[in-house]
């Protein structure tokens, strides 16, 4: 909880600074855009949070986004599939990718890093292959579907600002994810096995099934992210669509309180973490006019955040140990 407040405070501070430093930052258009991007990135961040909770990692998210994001318009406009068939196909592919990752990691005991690194190369390569490396998009069609990503919901009595539609998707995904992680026995199983897989297994938990489930959730949400991203921008280039997005997602999850050692995670934290990264990116571009140093700044902030978190944690452990000791010695 304290951690959440800390990261939220940082987000507020950065927003305040940006409001002061840049006029374009506080424009309604910019804020709306930031919120829409936060919703899109938030969805994939929540996905990777499940994998991180188990102590794993998924590096293939950006490529899954590419595969689905290019695959959907390609199926619709080039292959002339019907919309339901195309949506079903990308869903099956996303779920199937997660299932394959999970099976390789649990049954064959391969390293998550390696499996998903290969996925990163594989899915982008496949996409560039079947699209012939050509830009794909919806053109003027599918306006109804695109509302999902580009639409706005006006707020009564508020002028000049409307809620971007993807935010609705994010809220639904986040609420479901938070309930799953914190209120169901399966969420508890994921947290337990992330901390200590052996102890979880010895307690009768099917750790393999739970781990596979985490990778399926991750890839499925990456697929959903891919659909939303391509609906948002309308066209996608296989060579770089979704490039590096897994790193944004992982960084957002870590900033939001997921420990890469596993067993720790908060859905609200992931959303705040996502917002922080996107605001930072935005600020770097607007204030410095040097968007090329964006990665350096984001990297620095994340590193600082993780270091601060570790130091606070160590201090807490020390204090707690001292207290436990005092209690022990005060007992007769």
């Amino acid at each position: 909880m304290k951690k959440l407040l800390g990261i939220f405070g940082l987000l507020l501070a950065v927003c305040l600074f940006a409001t002061w430093a840049s006029e374009s930052f506080r424009s309604g258009y910019n804020i709306e855009n930031l919120i829409r991007r936060t919703a899109l990135f938030g969805v994939i961040g929540i996905g990777v949070a499940f994998v991180i909770v188990t102590g794993g990692i998924d590096l293939s998210i950006g490529s899954v986004i590419c595969l689905v994001g290019c695959g959907l318009p390609w199926l619709l406009t080039v292959q002339k599939w019907s919309l339901p068939a195309a949506l079903l196909a990308v869903t099956v592919v996303s779920v199937g990718i997660g299932l394959m990752h999970g099976l390789l990691i649990t049954k064959l005991r391969l390293q998550p890093f390696i499996v998903t690194l290969c996925g990163l190369m594989l899915y982008r390569g496949i996409t560039r292959g079947f699209t012939g490396d050509q830009t794909v998009g919806f053109g003027d069609g599918y306006k109804g579907l695109r509302v999902l990503a580009t639409g706005k919901i006006s707020i009564p009595f508020v002028q000049g600002f409307e809620i971007p539609a993807p935010w609705v998707v994010l809220v639904i995904v986040a609420v479901l994810a938070a309930i799953f992680l914190n209120r169901t026995i399966y969420g508890r199983y994921l947290l337990a096995l992330g901390r200590n897989e052996d102890a979880a297994r010895y307690s009768g938990i099917n750790t393999m099934a739970m781990t596979i489930l985490a990778y399926v959730i991750c890839s499925t949400l990456a697929g959903l992210g891919g659909v939303l991203f391509v609906l948002d921008v309308n066209s996608a280039q296989p060579v770089d669509f979704g490039n590096f997005y897994e790193l944004y997602a992982i960084a957002a999850a870590v900033l939001g309180g997921c420990s890469l050692r596993g067993g720790e995670g908060s859905i609200v934290g992931v959303i705040i973490g996502t917002a922080l990264i996107l605001v930072l990116r935005n600020v770097v571009t607007l204030v410095t006019n040097h968007s090329n140093i964006e990665f350096a700044i984001i990297g620095t902030v994340i590193l600082a955040g993780v270091i601060a978190d570790e130091l606070v944690k160590r201090y807490a452990v020390k204090r707690r140990a001292a207290r436990a000791l005092a209690e022990e010695s005060s007992r007769p």
Binding site: T184, I185, R188, R195, A199, S203, G204, A321, A324
Partner: protein, 499 residues
């Protein structure tokens, strides 16, 4: 003036006070045995003397002068070397390289191989190890590797050699050879601090014994006073018959029937036995006899290769712990921290972990039930914790073990397996665990426990099964129990006699 003296050392870890003012003297050229039960503080004391850890308070004197041993390097410079229970050799390097690791004789900045080998030979001779200095360590037997460790310690001009359970993985002949080397070192003026659980060895080897109990000195014995009974009395600090709360049980029907079980570790041997409801059965044997493997197969961790298992007459073949639990089995595993508890989770979530499935409401956590359950188990197991939100990491070993017991009691098993239930637990908590085992047996739970502590086996069991190298070599009723009888079977003597 003693060569090495430690005065009122204290050391605390989160949740445990490992040393509460321990003193110790080591004379020149003597073998001092330091004994005590698990958790008595022996290892911590030795680590402090060897500079691996530093004491919170107290002082250490060498030749009457206070010394600060802040690192292993400091200790080695003062002539104190520790040989760990688990050997610390780089087994991809040769013997000579290991002996001089980090202190290689150099010539113009390059390793002087000829001198390394020549000098290594000298130290190998000193420990009576007849191998070439360029032999790869990985090709040596465990006993030989241990001698390499000693040679390495001697090469640092160690005057005090601390050996932590040096015979735990040695064969009888290797151990004999080691004793010879130790006596030889003693005559050359090296002092040996010898830590062991094996009282027989101590009797054979030690000039003096220092006994620790619960992080304090509980007494010392001179050469003349050393006897098995005297050592046990100081270690346990009370009469054994009172220490173990054993009362005869009225055993009920057969709860667990194991017929020709074959484990992956010993696929060619079959194990058959039964445990009745309300009975406490000990499973004894030396390390590596296959006892843990039997429990792991019964519990579905490493499923059995063959044989039948019946719980209350119903045949089961658990392929996972999940299935074993559904069949009414529970296991308190050997490694508490790795397999028993989730250290970073609070007491409440640890206690409920195995019963979440039973108490669920359509997949959702039943949080009220979880709170009730943990309160109930904290009471029943007498877990000392400030609240059920306390993270298990900060509890003492004994309380952690009670959390594991509570987790299993919550699912009301018919058969409870315990693997080394009191390892690394202080004496008071041990007795509490025994009391809990008693209470469970009285309630009709069938208990099968593995233990390497002879006294525990003798004190707690209604019946003892003994294993040797994957086979059950015998079964002893309570009236037939004695240390000698168990050891006979555990070392396989009985079978060779009848074969």
């Amino acid at each position: 003036m003693p060569l090495l003296e430690a005065r009122s050392l204290t050391k605390s870890f989160p949740g445990v006070r490992a040393l509460k003012g321990v003193s110790l003297t080591v004379e020149r050229g003597e073998v001092l045995a330091v004994i005590g039960e698990n958790g008595a503080g022996k290892s911590t004391l030795m680590k402090i003397l060897a500079g691996v850890q530093t004491a919170d308070s107290g002082e250490i004197l060498l030749d009457g002068q206070p010394v600060a041993l802040r690192s292993v390097h400091d200790a080695l410079a003062s002539g104190i070397a520790l040989i760990h229970q688990e050997l610390n050799l780089a087994d991809n390097l040769d013997v000579a390289a290991n002996i001089f690791l980090g202190r290689e004789p150099r010539r113009f900045g390059w390793i002087d191989a000829a001198r390394t080998h020549r000098e290594a030979k000298q130290f190998l001779d000193a420990v009576g190890l007849d191998v070439k200095p360029d032999t790869l360590v990985s090709t040596l037997a465990i006993g030989q590797q241990q001698l390499v460790e000693i040679a390495k310690a001697l090469s640092t001009n160690a005057r005090v050699l601390i050996m932590d359970e040096p015979t735990s993985s040695l064969s009888a002949r290797e151990a004999e050879n080691l004793f010879k080397v130790i006596r030889d070192l003693r005559t050359r003026g090296v002092s040996i601090v010898y830590i062991s659980h094996r009282l027989g060895e101590v009797k054979q080897l030690a000039d003096r014994v220092t006994v620790l109990r619960d992080g304090e000195n509980s007494g010392g014995l001179t050469r003349e006073e050393i006897s098995h009974a005297a050592m046990v009395k100081l270690m346990v600090g009370r009469d054994l018959s009172q220490f173990y709360p054993h009362a005869p049980h009225r055993a009920g029907d057969v709860a667990l029937h194991v017929d020709r079980l074959r484990t992956p570790m010993y696929p060619r041997h079959e194990v058959s036995f039964t445990v009745r409801a309300g009975e406490i059965v000990g499973l004894a044997g030396l390390v590596g006899a296959g006892r843990t493997e039997v429990l792991l197969s019964l519990f579905g961790v490493t499923p059995a290769l063959g044989g039948t298992i019946r719980v209350n007459g119903k045949e089961v073949s658990p392929a996972s712990p999940q299935e074993a639990i559904e069949a009414g089995l529970a296991l308190v595993p050997e490694d508490r921290k790795k397999q028993g508890v989730v250290l970073e989770m609070p007491v409440r979530e640890n206690v409920s972990l195995a019963s979440l499935r039973r108490d669920q409401r359509n997949g959702f956590l039943n949080q009220r039930r979880e709170v009730e359950l943990s309160a109930e188990m904290i009471g029943a197991m007498r877990i000392k914790t400030p609240s059920d939100r306390q993270v298990v990491q900060f509890l003492s070993g004994g309380n952690q073990q009670k959390v594991v017991l509570g987790k299993w009691l919550a699912i009301q098993p018919r058969v409870l397996f315990l693997d080394e239930p009191t390892r690394g637990i202080d004496v008071g908590a041990k007795q509490e665990i025994y009391k809990l085992m008693e209470e469970l047996a009285r309630k009709g739970v069938a208990i099968l426990f593995v233990s390497s502590e002879m006294e525990e086996v003798l004190g707690m069991s209604d019946r003892v099964l003994v294993m040797h190298e994957g086979r059950l070599t015998g079964e002893l009723q309570r009236s037939e129990l004695s240390e000698e009888a168990v050891m006979h079977l555990a070392t396989g003597l009985e079978t060779t006699a009848t074969a």
